[in-house]
């Protein structure tokens, strides 16, 4: 299976916005200022009063998104290691694997989960 059939599963309800994934990736790829292999975006905070589907008072999540520079750490995974972002995530909220497998795991993780296919 080539890397185009692999992805990143991010259970972003636990992402604390720590930027470890950004820095780990940047260091590994040797990216300069202004470029990232994965970037954390902030959604919120805003109050959810009145929203029918709200489960909490505030909507506030950090959402990591792999960029065009992500190569799913092809050298590392070939060596049996985890991608840099997945390994170092302080909240242990990221996973790497075949898309088929990850989509099954996604169904077991509740709400606020993202599955990315960067390649």
């Amino acid at each position: 299976m080539s890397n185009t059939e692999y992805g990143l599963l991010i259970d972003y309800k636990y992402c604390s916005g720590c930027h470890a994934c950004e820095v780990a990736c940047k260091q590994y790829l040797g990216l300069p200022e202004g470029l990232w292999g994965i970037k954390v975006f902030e959604k919120g905070p805003w109050k959810t009063e009145g929203a029918a589907t709200a489960t909490a008072e505030w909507e506030w999540e950090y959402v990591p998104v792999p960029t065009g520079l992500c190569n799913l750490c092809e050298d590392r995974v070939a060596d049996g290691k985890k991608p840099m972002c997945v390994k170092h995530c302080l909240a242990f909220c990221m996973d790497y694997g075949p898309i088929e497998e990850l989509s099954q795991k996604m169904l077991e993780k509740g709400a606020k989960v993202a599955l990315y296919k960067p390649l």
Binding site: H19, V23, Q27, W60
Partner: protein, 778 residues
Amino acid sequence: MAMPEEWKQQTEDGTYVIRTCAWSPPGDHPVGCGVLLTVKDGKLVGVEGDEDHPITQGRLCPRCLDLIEYTYHPDRIIYPMKRDPKDRGKDAWEQITWDEAYDLIESKVLEMKANYGAESIVVFGGTGREACLYYYPLGFATLQTPNVCYSQSGWSCYGPRCSITDYILGAGYPEIDYAGYFEERFDHPEFVVPKYIVNWGKAPLESNGDGLFGHVFIDLMKLGTKIINIDPRITWLGCREGNMTLQLKPGSDTALALGILNVLINDDLYDHEFVENFCYGFDELTERVQQYSPERVEELTWVPKEQIIEVAHILGENHPCSIAWGLAVDQNPNGVQLGQAIISIAALTNMIDVPGGLTCGPPEAMLGAWRMEARSWLPQELWEKRIGAAEWPGLSTAMATTQPDETLEALETGKPYPIKMAWFNSSNLISPTNSAQPHRWYAALKKMEFSVVQDLFMTPTAMGLADVFLPLPTFAEHEGVVLPHYGRNTVFVGAMNKALTVGDTRSDIQVCHELGHRLNPDAWPHYEDMPAFFGDQLQAEFGFGFDGLRERGLLQPGYTYQKYRKGLMRWDGEPGFNTVTGRVELYSTLFEAWGEDPLPYYEEPRYSQISQPEWADEYPLMLTTGARKFTSFHSEHRQLKTMREIDPWPTVEFNPATAKAYGVKEGDWVCIENMFGMARGVAEFAPTIDPRVIHMTHGWWYPEQDGEEPNLFGVWKSNVNSLIPHFETGILGFGGPFKSIMCKAYKVDGIDGDVNFTTRAANNFKGAELKSRSRMQD
């Protein structure tokens, strides 16, 4: 699962991968994160986490991940330097050898002792770094001065919590139970997942306070734990599904704690067995808390009474629960009472030393005890000269240091005796970190005849004040031992392994030894190297040496719960606690002996719109400070591009409605100001902060700016600690109002203004006559 024995592995192409437990420098607390360092041809080329570490399990935060940038930063100082004292403030440094540095220091120390006495030397320590273990023996056993000073007004960092715990619980720092003591962690048969954790005035995810790996909060949340956050700011952690925030007025925490106690007692939610058998003063506490009804507490704290009642019921009806208490407990003149009330809540709800509750042990262990015992090298009459010790027994009984505010007074007045030499060990005290009114400290410390700094980069403190700069190695460049909580609640002892050498630097403990051989050889037996020294310490405690620790990676000692029932806490082996009464002192016999109220009480913040009504119109906002960031540790990491890219400037957080009222847009530079000082930062909007409150980050200075005086890397521009008054502490001498002070805010054009900060700050404008040190509430 135990860590593999092999700590150093060589790969085919000649690179090494060395496993280590990280501490500092660069600064952070003794979390001891598992790190794998890849070194090729003597150069650090890779940093990643160690999945075999039982707590961090491969995870690392941005600060460790950026280690390579730190290690090879062009501004890093890697050889000793000296400067003529008349050139202080100028970039007129000259490289010297370690022998030259030691020769100069030795001659100066002997001169000080001959002319003024050893007490004229003060060692200033910073916080969090490995230096915390070693600045005490540096002072007591190497330099042989009684004056070791943590300069933050009211000792407002960790020390108060440790002291209160020592006095009323007879134990070391109580920490949430996250199964850190067990190899099997959460799978240990005795461990129970806490149902609720009260996170009081703390930002654990960013701060990893004193060795607590903050993301265990998320590990526990995944197992069902809910977090009750007590904070003037609603944080990301506080508003996760199932979590809640008590969003209180800055500085009103003690009233809230007393309100919770009121409901726990009046609604009969407390553990009768623990109270009857193991607490002292319950009847007196019951009487005191009648003054703190939920209705009254709502008025004082802004927290709805329904929430106060709800939280008391949660804690009384769910077991086990735990409490993580943070820096906000220390940074408060009413903080001793807050700490006492929090321990009382823990006692009444049976959290102490139970699975899933609070772990605790002896006040000091291992190197934590050794560092304090170093004071046996001082003759008694010299020890008695410790600044402020006699006047502040409630501080000096538990802490081996001076009283910090008295130390500034001594520097300024020359009384009770002149101070002539300063040694800054990992302290950047003129930056907005561990001092109040830093410009006063700066002016007073300029008068020193001789000053030494130990650090890695030229800081404003070093540039402004020092004559000798001794460079420290990073944690990757020296051997050491990592102790979470410095021996006060130490879930493991970790091996710090040297992976590479950069320049010619010496670690804190090496300097203690090497200078110690010259100045006080009896205290410092010769060791072949520092691993041999650590080996002796480890051998005595565990029966193996440093190589034994390296092979284990770290040692988790296991844990015995309910030690108080088994006679394992008291000095005489009886059940109970190691306090004066043998019980948890809800009513403190020691506080009473020192002239403090033996029971907790609420004191309104001294500079609020309520306590200073004549200033209320001029300063309508309450300022809180110092919420932690992932990209820095206090004043460190400012020169790292990768960290500055994420957090480029100090921020002033506004509720959008407040900002609108002041005509401030997000991204505008603003100035915050009160009767004591001023500081500039960039406005950030947060609907999660109360409209009556603003928050500013601490620790800011600008390495990219001109370092010479008067600018000193822009240290006065965003110096939020200049808004905090000197010597506004509680009765025991603890607690400055760093997180609750009145202020105003207004838009400015940029970081610079038409005001000469140094002059205005030095004149201590407007507030100079305000009386300080108000006494006990009636």
